[in-house]
């Protein structure tokens, strides 16, 4: 399956603002944020604590309302959708990965991965087959029937990633996905995220970690709720080998 040639925007945020409270106590979490992420692209949102990056991610994932602006996910204007339609969009098309994995302790790895499919009406047997295929792709086929507390941190995050890309999910949203892992396991997780993007998934990672951000095609810098800067389109590794950089 290859969708990487499809460069249509999976996520478009236009002039998105979000404020909490009102009057003198108003807190502006996001101010006029523009962000477009295309299919196959991995974008990192970087900023210090309180810069609004997690708010941006929850709005992108339709988990939170915004005050003004426009958010389009996979071609659909989310502000025009009913709550039920938004929930269906989340179940079918959006995958989430969190720092603490958020796996359900009472379900096996395979059940955790198949749950969103079953919630969306896929029959249990078909959902399990799809879940096992997703786990197999991440090298977790043999651990499919283990419970989260029988898995290592790296394995749990693989299950979380399998869950986030299972079925036909096209937008992967991750909040510090390697935060609880050592650097080698963290790198493994980022290779999997990159792999999903190469297959055509659009990815957004929010992080304060430069190593994690450096896996992205583009890094957008957020500060006090505003986009203040972004990296230029990726230069290839060849530029490292030019005489100009030799020491």
């Amino acid at each position: 399956m290859s969708r990487s040639s499809d460069m249509s925007p999976a996520l478009e945020m236009r002039q998105v603002s979000k404020s909490y409270g009102e009057g003198a106590t108003i807190v502006e979490a996001l101010i006029g944020v523009d962000l477009t992420v295309c299919a196959g692209e991995l974008v990192a949102i970087m900023g210090p604590s309180g810069s609004g990056k997690s708010t941006l991610l929850t709005i992108a994932g339709t988990l939170e309302d915004f005050t003004s602006g426009e958010v389009t996910v996979l071609g659909e204007d989310t502000s025009q959708m009913s709550r039920n339609d938004r929930a269906a969009l989340r179940r079918r098309s959006i995958g989430y990965v969190f720092q603490d994995f958020n796996l359900l302790a009472g379900l096996t790895a395979a059940e955790n991965v198949s749950l969103p499919l079953e919630l969306d009406g896929t029959r249990s047997k078909a959902a399990r087959t799809t879940a096992l295929a997703a786990l197999d792709e991440l090298g977790m086929a043999e651990r499919a029937d283990r419970f989260p507390d029988e898995l290592s941190g790296g394995e749990r995050q693989r299950v979380a990633i399998a869950r986030s890309v299972v079925g036909d999910r096209q937008l992967l949203l991750a909040d510090e996905p390697t935060g609880a892992l050592d650097s080698v396991n963290g790198e493994g997780v980022m290779r999997l995220v990159r792999g999903a993007c190469k297959r055509g998934v659009a990815g957004v990672i929010v992080t304060h970690d430069a190593q994690l951000a450096s896996w992205a095609d583009r890094v957008v810098f957020l500060r006090d709720g505003r986009v203040v800067d972004q990296t230029s389109p990726a230069a290839g590794p060849d530029s490292l080998l030019s005489p100009a950089t030799s020491r």
């Binding site: 210090p48 430069a210 890094v219 590794p237």
Partner: protein, 193 residues
Amino acid sequence: MSVRHALLALLSEGPKYGLQLGQEFEAGTGEVWPLNTGQVYTTLQRLERDGFVESDGTIDDGPQKDFRITDAGLDELHAWLHTPPDTSTPPRDELVIKVLVALRIPGVDAGELVQAHRRHVIEAMHQYTRLKEDAADHEIGLLLVADAEIFRLDAVVRWLDAADARIKRLPPPSETPASPVRLRARRKVGARR
């Protein structure tokens, strides 16, 4: 980085030509650290002068001249491997100096300067990460060198983040108290350089 000891390490595997040494050095570091042939020969000449390598040929043999490590060279190599790197003197970091200078120049937005440098450093990290992503597991030299560069640059970003937070907390320039005592203490720390 010690080219001298890297060449000794390559020669500890057996006799080699100068050209071959240059190629093996670059291959061993995933070509991230280029090394020109002139530098290889200058270093070999010094190693020969110090008795750490020897060769049979004459200078006219050029690239075909064969070099061997001596017992003294092997001792030197093992001693170097176990010598801790010099961390006693903080380097005069160009970026640190730029941010310090920016704080003193009226009209320069230090926060913006910090962000511009952060972007450049992350762009460089991105290139090393791509290099690593494309590398196979057995390309250990390349992976280790790329990791080292990424960790080094990550430390620069962390310092920039900390600098950013400190600058943000600064009172407006007129309220900044002079602190001659601290300046003297700091001068002492860097006195050896």
